[in-house]
């Protein structure tokens, strides 16, 4: 056992010396390999953390939302629908929601305006999200002006700001009273944005949804399970830029592996020939090449994974920010909770370390089985 370990250590010593002899080439290889692992691990950590946080946060989302669609576009829903929906068997309660968007011409930002079911503040008051406060530099006690549908200005006083921890759901949110909302957008009393429904038995959701769509063919229904499924498949690998992003990374990695698997350089072949000529066994040469692959790939994997973790969870994914931000002026700070597990890291390991190490051994085995004299003369 001791001799075997010592043999491995001597071979590792020799492998490291051999790598240092070509330090320029190997350092650049290590740098690019680390970068590939870093990008891949950053995407994995970021998407997994968003998905998990979304699943936990949205587990209490409305069970059913009923929207009205007119000419392929969402329209206000008549409040009269509410009475008929409440009478459907299995519905425990239903409520009209009022919400919409407001474009702020001062900062060029979009806000989500909403009327809560129960509010501690009356007309003339608003509660804003941390993102709105940051964008407009407004705080509790300040007034925020809104341009109403008829051109008049409505000044509302900020009573409270949502905590920074809730930014993932409330960053652009502005809560206001029903009277202010209707005055701002000119929405009549008999209309609302949509209807949310609570049911007695969640297993009856699809049956109730069918009854609603049967009674109101102009409506469209969104169920909670669909909301959760949407966020579970968010940033799916098929999604637009993600294909190019992951595709580019994997292609770069394939080029690496192909470069290794397609054959050794003349210098490396000569080195193997000399080693065999001085008495090294084929198994020793393969072991040396195995260590060479492992030194490079393991170093790149560890460094890339550690850097990716720091990037996503300590620096709030600052490299992804320009891509995620788009044209948005109000941008929530992604202070993600680090949801990582061994499965993710193991998947990354098997995707990056194993193929490279195997790709290093195959050409070495071919070179190590050829006659040393032929290899050295080539």
């Amino acid at each position: 056992m001791g001799r075997s370990i010592e043999r491995h250590r001597y071979i590792l010593d020799f492998t490291l010396s051999s790598l240092f002899r070509r330090k320029g080439k190997n350092a650049s290889l290590l740098f690019v390999y680390t970068l590939v692992v870093f990008m891949l691990a950053s995407v994995v950590f970021f998407t997994h953390a968003i998905k998990r946080e979304g699943a936990i946060t949205l587990k209490n989302a409305p069970e059913m939302i009923i929207q009205r669609s007119v000419a392929g576009r969402r329209d206000l829903i008549p409040v009269s629908y509410l009475d008929k929906i409440q009478k459907i068997r299995g519905v425990s309660s239903a409520r009209c929601r009022l919400w919409g968007y407001y474009y702020d011409p001062v900062r060029g930002a979009n806000y989500t305006l909403m009327v809560p079911e129960k509010s501690g503040y009356g007309p003339g008051s608003i509660v804003i999200g941390e993102g709105v406060s940051r964008t407009r530099h407004v705080y509790p006690g300040d007034y925020l002006g809104f341009s109403a549908f008829d051109g008049s200005m409505i000044m509302l006083q900020i009573r409270d700001v949502f905590s920074a921890e809730s930014e993932l759901v409330s960053s652009d949110l502005i809560l206001m009273s029903e009277a202010d909302f209707r005055k701002l957008f000119g929405i009549q009393e008999k209309e609302a944005t949509d209807i949310v429904v609570r049911v007695r038995n969640p297993r009856e959701l699809s049956a109730i949804a069918w009854k609603v769509s049967d009674q109101f063919p102009d409506t469209r229904i969104v169920l909670r399970e669909e909301i959760l499924r949407t966020y579970d498949s968010i940033f799916n690998w098929r999604g637009g830029m993600m294909v190019f992003f992951l595709g580019g990374t994997l292609l770069a990695f394939l080029i690496f592996a192909w470069d290794r698997a397609s054959g050794l350089s003349q210098e490396e072949k000569r080195e193997i020939g000399i080693l065999k000529a001085i008495g090294w066994e084929t198994s020793d040469v393969i072991l040396m090449k195995f260590w060479e692959g492992l030194v490079i790939s393991l170093s790149a994997f560890l460094a890339g994974t550690i850097l990716a973790y720091c990037h996503v969870f300590f620096t709030h994914s600052f490299l992804f920010e320009p891509a995620l931000k788009g044209w948005a002026v109000l941008y929530p700070a992604f202070k993600l909770i680090p949801f990582i597990d061994l499965y993710q890291v193991a998947t990354l390991f098997f995707l990056t370390v194993v193929p490279y190490t195997v790709a290093t051994i195959i050409p070495s085995w071919t070179a190590a089985t050829i006659d040393p004299d032929t290899v050295m003369r080539a």
């Binding site: 587990k59 209490n60 079911e117 993102g131 809730s166 759901v169």
Partner: protein
């Protein structure tokens, strides 16, 4: 010092750092429990349906509330022009409901 020792020490240092990050993640997850609970309660209280990931377009701000026409609401032949629209997948229910109609 032998080169192999240096490398093994470097490897051990990295593995320790990785384990430390795992411990950090574990601690953060426990520490975030009350925050996640408060956010989930906020979602229930305000009846919110979406995460605030993108604010540039309505169909990416409220991803689950969008429909097939929303990205083209400016005019029938308008092309997608918000970057976030090219990152996200369309919501799951669109495939279902429209699939059934068609």
């Amino acid at each position: 010092m032998r080169k192999s020792n240096c490398f093994l020490l470097y490897l051990a240092g990295n593995v320790l750092l990785l384990l430390f990050l795992f411990a950090h993640a574990f601690y953060q997850e426990i520490h975030a429990g009350p925050i996640l609970k408060a956010n989930s309660e906020l979602v229930a209280r305000l009846e919110l349906s979406d995460l605030c990931l993108f604010t540039e377009a309505s169909y990416t701000r409220h991803l689950t509330q969008t429909d097939l026409d929303t990205p083209f609401q400016d005019c029938p032949i308008c092309l997608e022009h918000f970057p976030s629209g090219s990152i996200l997948m369309p919501p799951e229910m669109l495939k279902r409901s429209y699939g059934k109609i068609n």
